[in-house]
Amino acid sequence: MSTALESTESKASSHSVKGRSRGPRGPRENVMSRTVAMVIMGAFTLYFLVPIWWLVIAGSKDTGSILTTNPLWFADFQMFQNIGNLFAYRDGVYLEWLRNSALYAGVGGAVATLLAGMCGYALAKYRFRGREMIFNAVLGGVLVPATALALPLFLIFSKVELTNTFWAVFLPSIVSPFGVYLTRIFAASSVSDELLEAARLDGAGEVRTFFTVSIKLMSPALITVFLFQFVTIWNNFFLPLIMLRDESLFPVTFGLYSWNTQLNQIPELRSLVLIGALISIIPLIVAFLSLQKFWRSGLSAGAVK
């Protein structure tokens, strides 16, 4: 979806460039529709940004003034003290959670992307018996919500005594049916058979061809899959809730949730939950901003061919 947005955006901008170069002779741009579009976009931007702004403000206050002062403006700026308290609380368990989330989402997302990429590529580029059946089965997997699988997974993992371990969250995270679907579609259109033929004639094996040639051509799709999977794992809450009991294995989302359920009893946790939530969204923002440019370069790399 994000790629679609990107491309419409770039189309739109190229339109306006053309319109400008044509100068007054071109058709007049409809000011009305443009204003309406801007207003709607502005409203939505505000709608999405206000909660983050609220979080930034709340993260800068102490527990008392969170409730008693204007929620959308600073009162007593002590964000750094809050961060210090957060990192010190219970011997820095929050940092452990961050690390866990980074491992689950980062490594899990990378492995999931590789597996999905290989699978999608194979389904797109090789002919073998049962190909469509496998693809349809994977497609069926897209339709099953991950939440519905958590409990069966728990019972299976119990049998092999893997609950309450790193693997309990990691292993289910490295499968991405949607990734297989996306990479198959993308590989079918972006990796040409002629190119593969050329690579084979040059003596490259199938594996080498995949890792040197195909993977580059598929990179926009792979980046998309990685981002999606990263965000999915990062936000996956139900699986850790069911699988984990050891605090040192929690991902940050589940850890913060646990704290949040204790607010009635330990109200002092409020400021820690808020600053913790603020810090926990930073990796997501960084991931998006830094990976965005690969989308563009990837798309253009495909276009030059």
């Binding site: 527990t63 008392g64 929620p71 409990l151 069911i242 009991r245 605090e247 646990s258 009893q265 109200p267």
Partner: protein, 447 residues
């Protein structure tokens, strides 16, 4: 054909073995009636490691003290969200999968649910547990025996006796006497309203607070006779309490802010809401939710239904139970007793998480005798200790409290927004609870 036959035979064999197992296990408890049978509670005779799941923050430090002194019984703390936030569901899943922790924190109102689903080990075979009975405040003990003579399903950990928190300064300034009966409370409500405030906030979602009111009035929502449950959400006491609050709602004498929200905190912090009949742990909720009102609050015994009475209700409290499938009931019980009766553990728990102990001795902890700054130096825990002794021991929770809370809360929300009444919400809740029990094949008396 042949295959299906063998499969069928295997299935029959499997089924019959299942029934056999079921029979033999159901015979066990009947064998243990009479003199205390301690066979279910024997020391393992070797070093054991217990798993203990609880959501009390900072309890690790307390457990470390135990571990240092008991190398043969090591306890590993596991944590998670609070019970209804997911931990109870996890317990049930883990019991099903056979890998539940040995010990789990379970609130009083959830114990019957675990009992009905056969999720608890009976500690009635442990002599030390039976001997500890008199250490605990009487009514907390009846919360963990669940109406049985010889069984104990958990060790009481904390309690939530209720009292009246009120804005001493505002009551004094306006010449309103502190109400000692609910009738006076209603009169005061009118005076407070005339002065521009609300005497309290009626929470549509804290059904366990409402249960505490009913508890204080001498009512109960459930009772058991053998295996059969009787449900009485619409008992006379229950309806009396409902009509009382309905009257306050109708006359706009109480606010109806959604509880535990910023709005609600602000209601108290800004001085719009003047009092709260709440449990002992509410002391911290006010202190953190209404920081600007420090030093202006005081605590008095809860208003009474009869003049000169001294009944108290309870809101909250939990136990430490031994979950089904634990191989070390004896050791688990021993640890749970230490955790919830020893001075060092109770003091540490109070420091770490404001746990208000369930033992008679625990209420005399030095830390609970001190004046509290937020309450203008009043030693507020004295009031709660008195209330604790006055809590009626007969209140029984049902096996489907999550459903009860949900259904009654829906009804209360409607009543607050003007459709239906609190009484009709309780009557509807009564009917839906009977349905919920029947749906789970839990026997209901008279059905």
């Amino acid at each position: 054909m042949k295959h299906t036959k063998t499969a069928a035979a295997a299935a029959v064999a499997l089924l019959s073995s299942v029934t056999l197992v079921a029979c033999s296990s159901s015979e066990d408890p009947s064998a243990s009636t009479g003199p205390v049978d301690t066979s279910s509670c024997q020391p393992a005779g070797e070093n054991v490691t217990l798993e203990f799941t609880t959501w009390i923050p900072g309890i690790e430090g307390v457990v470390d003290t135990w571990n240092a002194a008991n190398p043969d019984i090591q306890v590993k703390v596991q944590t998670g969200p609070n019970g209804n936030g997911g931990t109870y569901k996890n317990f049930f899943n883990q019991i099903e999968a056979g890998n539940a922790p040995d010990l789990g924190q379970i609130e009083y109102d959830a114990l019957p649910n675990f009992r009905v689903q056969d999720g608890l080990e009976d500690l009635g075979g442990c002599e030390e547990v039976l001997a500890a009975k008199d250490d605990f405040v009487d009514w907390t003990w009846s919360q963990v025996t669940l109406g049985s003579e010889s069984s104990v399903y958990g060790i009481p950990q904390d309690q939530g006796p209720m009292a009246l928190f009120y804005r001493k300064d505002l009551f004094e300034e306006n010449g309103i006497p502190v109400p000692t009966t609910w009738e006076e409370y209603a009169t005061a409500a009118q005076q407070v309203r005339d002065a521009g405030g609300y005497i309290t906030n009626f929470s549509q979602s804290d059904i366990n607070q409402f249960a505490g009111f009913v508890w204080q009035a001498g009512g109960s929502w459930f009772s058991t006779e053998g295996d059969e449950w009787s449900i009485s959400l619409d008992s006379p006491e229950s309806l009396q309490v409902a009509e009382y609050w309905q009257g306050l709602l109708d006359d706009d004498l109480v606010s109806t802010l959604p509880a535990w929200t910023d709005e609600w905190n602000n209601g108290y912090n800004s001085g719009e809401v003047w009092s709260w009949v709440s449990a002992v742990w509410g002391a911290n909720s006010i202190a953190s939710g209404a920081p600007d009102t420090s030093g202006k609050w005081a605590v008095a015994p809860a208003p009474q239904w009869t003049e000169g009475g001294s009944d108290a209700g309870n809101w909250g409290g939990s136990s430490v139970a031994v979950l089904k499938g634990s191989d070390h009931v004896y050791e688990a019980a021993k640890f749970a007793l230490w955790l919830n009766t020893s001075d060092e553990a109770l003091t540490a728990l109070n420091e770490a998480a404001n746990i208000y102990p369930a033992t008679k001795e625990g209420l005399n902890l030095p830390v609970l005798q001190e004046g509290v700054e937020f309450y203008d130096g009043q030693p507020i825990y004295d009031v709660f200790a008195e209330a604790s002794a006055q809590v009626i021991p007969d209140f029984t929770w049902g096996p489907t409290m999550t459903q009860v809370y949900g259904d009654v809360s829906d009804g209360f929300k409607n009543a607050v927004s003007g459709s239906g009444t609190l009484s009709s919400a309780l009557e509807d809740g009564n009917a839906s609870t009977i349905g919920a029990l029947e749906a789970q094949s839990i026997p209901v008396a008279g059905e």
